[in-house]
């Protein structure tokens, strides 16, 4: 009986953070932005106003009009369609690198906290060394061998941010490992993996999700930067970075065209960054709102993306 009654309460508690998130203006902005970018990416799979790669020589460099809401570029391609297609690329890269960063980060953090002392101490040193490799340099390293592609971006952001995630979650794991319930779980016969999966990961989930949100922001910037350099999306794939590279030469003559892809990147990254900030505020009960000068926000080290692209 009591278990049935408890269930809705537990469910409500589980989604409580979402309502908390919505209450913060930053969280609301982040959620809406991410939802809109995701939706645009989804729509672009089925429909864009024009074919993003179709060239129309008669419609070169059109200013925004009803036919072309954001105008056209030097080969007459519709910029709105290119931006919509670029959103698809961005979402693909963000999700892909998010998954790799999670797996890589958790594995590194677990190796750095659950293993015997010598192993976890050397792992900590190793993580500190890997931090010195910014995402962009990892990407250049892989590109020099395999050539550039979106997969290179995904892997390098995944690896680069996986290390950052490991660096943040490792102390967190160590802290949770000291708790009584872990000792209890251990003494009742759970293996390391079971403890990690059932007890540790749920407890570090808030810290983790926040990092993930920021890593996706970095992924968006990295995709744009690397595609701009020519080591990300291929010239035929719709990408905000490729679009910027194409429009760069004409910036003096057609400045407006170059505004759109930059705005798209900025808003997406801002949304993900603010979502991360708000997630942290919503999930961390010890974080005060910073209204009272005697109790300012606790965290002094905020996130610094290594890639500014």
């Amino acid at each position: 009986m009591s278990e049935i009654a408890a269930r809705p309460v537990a469910a409500r508690a589980r989604w409580h953070w979402l309502r908390q998130l919505w209450r913060l203006p930053t969280g609301r902005f982040g959620l809406i932005t991410v939802a809109v970018v995701g939706l645009v990416a989804l729509v672009s799979v089925f429909w864009t106003p024009y074919d993003p790669i179709s060239i129309d020589v008669n419609a070169r460099w059109q200013l925004p009009s009803l036919a072309h809401l954001l105008g056209t570029d030097g080969t007459g391609r519709d910029i709105l369609s290119l931006i919509m297609g670029g959103a698809r690329t961005t979402v693909f890269v963000a999700i892909g690198s998010g998954i790799i960063a999670s797996v890589f980060g958790i594995v590194l953090a677990a190796l750095g906290s659950l293993t015997p002392r010598w192993a976890r101490e050397s792992m900590a040193v190793f993580i500190d060394i890997l931090i010195a490799f910014p995402v962009l340099l990892i990407a250049m390293m892989i590109s020099s061998v395999w050539g550039g592609s979106l997969w290179v971006v995904i892997w390098s952001v995944g690896i680069g941010f996986g290390v950052s995630i490991a660096r943040v979650t490792r102390p967190e794991l160590r802290r949770v490992l000291q708790s009584d319930f872990i000792v209890a779980a251990r003494s009742s016969g759970l293996s390391n993996t079971q403890v990690l999966w059932r007890h540790l990961l749920p407890n570090i989930a808030p810290v983790f999700i926040v990092q993930l949100s920021w890593s996706m922001a970095v992924a968006v910037l990295a995709e744009a930067g690397l595609s701009y350099l020519g080591y990300g999306a291929s010239p035929t794939e719709p990408s905000w970075g490729v679009l910027l590279a194409n429009l760069q030469a004409y910036i003096g003559i057609h400045p407006l065209a170059a505004v759109w892809p930059g705005l798209a990147i900025t808003i997406t990254v801002l949304g993900l960054n603010l979502l991360g900030d708000a997630l942290r505020e919503a999930t961390d009960p010890t974080l005060s709102r910073g209204r009272d000068p005697l109790h300012p926000p606790r965290a002094s080290i905020r996130h610094v993306p290594e890639v500014i692209s």
């Binding site: 040193v125 190793f126 500190d128 060394i129 010195a132 490799f133 910014p134 995402v135 962009l136 340099l137 250049m140 390293m141 892989i142 590109s143 020099s144 061998v145 395999w146 922001a217 910037l221 744009a224 930067g225 701009y228 350099l229 020519g230 080591y231 970075g241 910027l244 590279a245 760069q248 910036i251 003096g252 400045p255 170059a258 892809p261 930059g262 990147i265 900025t266 808003i267 990254v269 801002l270 960054n273 603010l274 910073g290 209204r291 000068p293 005697l294 109790h295 300012p296 926000p297 965290a299 002094s300 080290i301 905020r302 610094v304 993306p305 290594e306 890639v307 500014i308 692209s309």
Partner: protein, 316 residues
């Protein structure tokens, strides 16, 4: 202190070795056949074999690594696969653009982040503070390429104050032209990096405002802002030093992209070109120099932090 410095130095040396090994083996193991990669699909088996011999690729991997490291320790990063030019010499020459660019960007970032960050902490909850935080959040999300393009548009094309792109051919022999060519690139990197730094300064200042010593100073008759500036700022400075290590990585990444945008002959542009040419010897040298630089800065930051923060000295 000396003991700490020695431990930290050991860590730095280990770090440099691990980083060099990571770079070397990634570039040797990933491609499968390096000689085929350099030769391209057009190369005949004899040509591929010639490349293999020339680069010593028939030696065991560890021996190749040892010979590369032997050169590195003597300051020789090997020679380009394409034109046989010395990598170290070219890096030194390109550093004449990248190092000043980095220093100028850092100056811009600090000049812009520290006063505004402290100000936004003092104005917290008021319009001014909100505007500054919002602006810095937004700027931190701007891709550096786009920021550069917009600055070129306004200051180079519309106003004509600076050259749009390029670096004077005679380099620093014409100091004013060289400096002028670096202003817009440095502003671009500095503003974007500064926006991130500003958020650190702001939260460090907010933290300082809440400290007992600031409250005590305020109780003795200073205003809260005076107390923050006189007693809080040294502590804000400490946390800035800490994040500076991270900022260096950001500066390097920023300069890779910005040198490409402004066609500046620096290390970043050199790296982009060499990656395109698959000149692995040059790429591994450049990557080693850049990551080594980040590791060394991290080391210096830690030492400096130790020297200027008496609390850390006592706890040692």
């Amino acid at each position: 202190m000396i003991r700490y410095a020695l431990t930290r130095l050991t860590l730095l040396v280990v770090g440099l070795f691990v980083a060099s090994a990571l770079i070397f083996f990634t570039l040797r193991v990933l491609p499968g056949d390096v000689a085929q990669l350099i030769g391209g699909t057009q190369a005949s088996p004899a040509q591929v074999e010639a490349i293999r011999l020339k680069l010593g690729l028939n030696e065991p991997l560890l021996a190749q690594y040892a010979s590369w490291m032997g050169g590195v320790l003597r300051g020789d990063l090997g020679n380009s696969m394409l034109n046989n030019a010395s990598v170290s010499a070219e890096l030194l020459q390109k550093a004449q653009v990248t190092v000043p660019l980095g220093l100028m960007s850092l100056t811009v970032a600090l000049l812009f982040a520290i006063p505004l960050g402290v100000l936004s902490a003092m104005q917290r909850g008021r319009t001014g503070g909100t505007v500054i935080s919002f602006a810095s959040q937004t700027l931190a999300a701007v891709p550096v390429v786009w920021a550069g393009m917009m600055l070129i548009l306004v200051f180079a094309i519309w106003l004509g104050w600076f050259p749009t792109t390029g670096f004077p051919r005679q380099g620093w022999d014409d100091p004013w032209a060289a400096f002028r060519a670096l202003i817009l690139p440095a502003l671009t990197i500095g503003i974007i990096e500064g926006a991130m730094l500003l958020r650190f300064v702001r939260s460090a200042s907010l933290q300082a405002i809440g400290q007992d010593y600031v409250r005590t100073a305020a109780a003795k008759g200073l205003t809260r802002n005076q107390a923050l500036i006189r007693h809080g700022l040294p502590n804000v400075g400490l946390s800035i030093v800490t994040v500076l290590g991270l900022q260096i990585a950001g500066l390097i990444v920023g300069s890779v992209i910005i040198e490409q945008l402004f066609t500046l002959p620096g290390i970043g542009r050199m790296l982009v070109t060499d990656v395109g040419n698959r000149d692995l010897i040059k790429v591994q040298g450049e990557l080693l120099v850049l990551t080594g630089f980040i590791l060394v800065i991290g080391f210096l930051v830690d030492l400096f932090h130790r020297v200027i923060d008496p609390r850390q000295r006592e706890s040692a």
